[in-house]
Symmetry: C2
């Protein structure tokens, strides 16, 4: 399992609408091939900065299969209007889960 | 519960030593007041870039209590030598946990 981390800056004042759009879009991820989890984090120091954290079986499940699907188009239709700039996307793997 | 996200660039070639140092330091976090979880994520596109993700009861538990403790000094003694630049630290809260 790997994680997509998309850092998304939202137009100031549109945070609530953006959060609703992400919630509305979540079934698109839940139904996506290889998609295992999805959460949205909001910055405390930077309240217009979000991190969408999506668990995938592989980077290809995200970057090839999902990105080329209609669900990705629909996701961008729902959430894209609130983006203040293009999201910065990276992938990470967990190398230490010390405690929780 | 909030999360500290510390983005840490490590000197290339020292990744393994850094990961060992973080594992060795994990009891310092586990014992810290208000500390609830700790994990270390490594970049897939940028393998010298890590994200230390630490759950705290509050930002103050991290920035006031922990930062002014001997445990923080010890953490920096252990992991600091591997930092290629000062860590970028932010705090986030989870606003949507859609599924997992």
């Amino acid at each position: 399992m790997i994680f997509e981390i998309a850092e998304i800056e939202v137009h100031a004042g549109q945070e609530e609408q953006f959060e609703s759009a992400v919630a509305q879009a979540s079934p698109l991820f839940r139904q996506a091939h290889g998609c295992l989890s999805m959460k949205l984090e909001r910055g405390i120091e930077h309240p217009s900065r979000y991190r969408l954290v999506v668990g995938w079986n592989s980077v290809d499940d995200h970057m090839l299969t999902f990105r080329n699907s209609e669900s990705f188009q629909r996701w961008r239709e729902l959430a894209g209007p609130f983006f203040a700039s293009p999201p910065k996307v990276e992938h990470v793997s967990c190398v230490l889960d010390a405690f929780s």
